[in-house]
């Protein structure tokens, strides 16, 4: 059947709405894809700044095994990042020990026990906590936690793994709480109803049914917290003591990868070995946080596909 010319004009009417629709489609597409382009752009930029060093004078064995980070030494500059990596790892590890119980506890309370107004105001409060600037946290570490640690533990310096770990843990807890609570909320209520109808008490419902069902989401929350810990700069710079050390106790001062970049980049000559070495640290950090986030994402996807 062939459409008559009259029919065609009816079907093929490109009016204003049609054009608006096209424009909006394009805008949404650009908006959606721009985040990806920016991430790729950042990675390309960091890599370009650091790649020359990797191929010319970078010694991966020194980088990963030597604790000597002395790029400004005039006769023998060395670029061992081991102490920095361990500094970041120890602070992040302690931060997770602090943050995981706090955030899971808060998420369970908000998601499973609190109701009505309490619940809503707690959620707002947690989101507010997540918005505190990291320099404020660093300030708290520097001016409040530092003297307290010196006093309580009778150690000479309070800017150390303990200080930075606690600060970072408190910083990461709100965002972890939010994600963990989302994971609990995603557990269908029919599971709770089923378990309660079988006579399970509140805690049995939570521990035997809700938490196992939400496990992937909770794991993702923890992983995102770890990612946050690795990437955090200012608070760690201020609270960790910023001295190159392989930590042997939580009272040792350490230096983080991020803090090293932040503190040194402004003082290097553009394009020098030191400058490029800092970008290698950047590439390394980028890869680690990327891997952690990717894992978290895959874990979360795991729940959906089950």
């Amino acid at each position: 059947m062939r459409a008559s010319p009259a029919d065609q004009t009816i079907l093929d009417r490109r009016n204003l709405d049609w054009y608006i629709d096209k424009v909006v489609q394009v805008l949404v597409f650009v908006g959606g894809i721009s985040a990806i382009i920016f991430i790729i752009g950042i990675f390309v930029f960091i890599t370009r700044e650091g790649i020359g060093f990797i191929f010319s004078s970078w010694d991966p064995i020194e980088f990963f095994t030597s604790p000597r980070w002395a790029p400004t030494s005039s006769h023998n500059p060395t670029y061992g990042a081991l102490a920095l990596i361990l500094g970041t790892a120890s602070v992040t590890g302690l931060a997770m020990i602090v943050a995981v119980p706090f955030s899971l506890g808060a998420a369970i309370y908000i998601g499973e026990f609190a109701s009505g107004k309490t619940r809503e105001s707690l959620k707002v409060l947690v989101e507010l906590l997540a918005a505190i600037p990291s320099v404020v946290w660093g300030f708290i570490g520097l001016s409040i936690l530092n003297p307290l640690i010196i006093q309580w533990f009778n150690v000479p310096i309070g800017l150390n793994v303990l200080n930075a770990g606690v600060i970072l843990g408190l910083m990461a807890a709100p965002i972890m709480t939010t994600i963990a609570e989302d994971a609990l909320k995603a557990v269908p209520d029919t599971y709770r109803e089923a378990a309660e109808a079988m006579g399970a008490a509140r805690w049995q419902v939570i521990f035997k049914v809700v938490l196992p069902a939400a496990k992937p989401g909770l794991l993702a929350a923890v992983l995102l917290g770890v990612g946050r810990g690795f990437g955090e700069t200012m608070a760690v710079l201020m609270a960790s003591g910023h001295s190159i050390n392989i930590p042997t106790s939580i009272f040792d001062s350490v230096r983080a990868l991020t803090a090293t970049i932040a503190a040194e980049l402004g003082e290097t000559a553009h394009g020098s070995d030191h400058y490029q070495a800092l970008f290698v640290l950047g590439i390394f950090l980028f890869l680690i946080t990327f891997l952690i986030n990717l894992t978290a994402d895959l874990v979360v996807r795991g729940i959906r596909n089950r």
Partner: protein, 272 residues
């Protein structure tokens, strides 16, 4: 069993208390300010399958959900009157919810196995209610699981995959599992809220058959929208309308010679 005949005679003269599984008096229930049940007086006999029918919103599911007090999850529910299950008032302040729910098992409209393995689903209730469950050997536990699964005619299909997730089963199998997991704690009453409405005709037939098998051993109260199901799968029937009980009689009587005009109209499909 599709066209099951009910050979027994149901004398509806006042039954002995000992024959009763559930007895409610002046049961009123409000959701907030909305009253959903009005002075419901019902006596449900032990070991029988009693069907609850009525149009949507008539209160049949609400009534069912008061018997194990699962309604209270909502938080804004208020109940007055008395509910006796096996002679004990479950609304009394000293009553433990856990005990009520051990005595009264519930099957939901949509099969809702827990996100655990088949084995763990069946033993879940038992672990909650029986303190000695911890001390059982693996063999003893497996016996309990096997017995429950055999009772719901599911053993042969799942015996080789007891450790796989229950949520991977077909809906029919899931619903049977949801019945099986109630049995190890030996409940006296099973509440079923439209247990077949999510199933296909074949699954419906299989689950109905299973429910029929369980009569006698358990008192079964089943809510259904499906007239044909009420007729073939229940021994007594209760017709509710707008939160009130209109008629309670043997299923045969209700479907052949309904006493009230409203019942007759509903059964014949004039509304609902």
């Amino acid at each position: 069993m599709a066209n099951a005949i009910h050979p027994e005679e149901f004398g509806l003269s006042k039954p002995e208390p000992a024959q009763l599984a559930i007895e409610t008096h002046d049961l009123n229930l409000w959701y907030g300010t909305f009253q959903a049940l009005f002075d419901v007086d019902l006596m449900i006999k032990r070991g029988r399958i009693t069907g609850l029918i009525g149009p949507s919103g008539c209160g049949k599911s609400t009534y069912l959900r008061t018997i194990n007090r699962i309604n209270e999850r909502l938080g804004y529910v208020r109940t007055t009157g008395s509910i006796e299950v096996m002679g004990q008032n479950i609304l009394a302040p000293e009553v433990e919810l856990v005990q009520v729910r051990k005595q009264v098992g519930m099957v939901f409209q949509r099969p809702n196995p827990l996100p655990l393995s088949i084995r763990e689903n069946v033993i879940f209730g038992y672990k909650i209610h029986e303190p000695e469950a911890r001390r059982l050997t693996r063999n003893q536990r497996d016996e309990i699981v096997e017995k429950a699964l055999r009772e719901v005619l599911l053993w042969d299909t799942v015996k080789d995959r007891l450790d796989s997730p229950a949520t991977a089963l077909s809906l029919e199998e899931q619903q049977k599992l949801c019945i099986a997991r109630l049995l190890p704690v030996k409940p006296s009453v099973l509440l079923m809220d439209e247990p077949c409405s999510a199933l296909d005709p074949k699954g419906t037939e299989a689950v109905e058959e299973l429910i029929w098998e369980l009569r006698g051993e358990y008192t079964i109260l089943i809510v259904t929208h499906n007239m044909a199901q009420a007729r073939r799968a229940s021994e007594e029937c209760i017709f509710m309308l707008l939160g009130k009980v209109v008629e309670h009689s043997s299923t045969d009587d209700m479907f052949v010679t309904p006493k009230s005009q409203e019942t007759a109209d509903y059964i014949e499909g004039r509304y609902g």
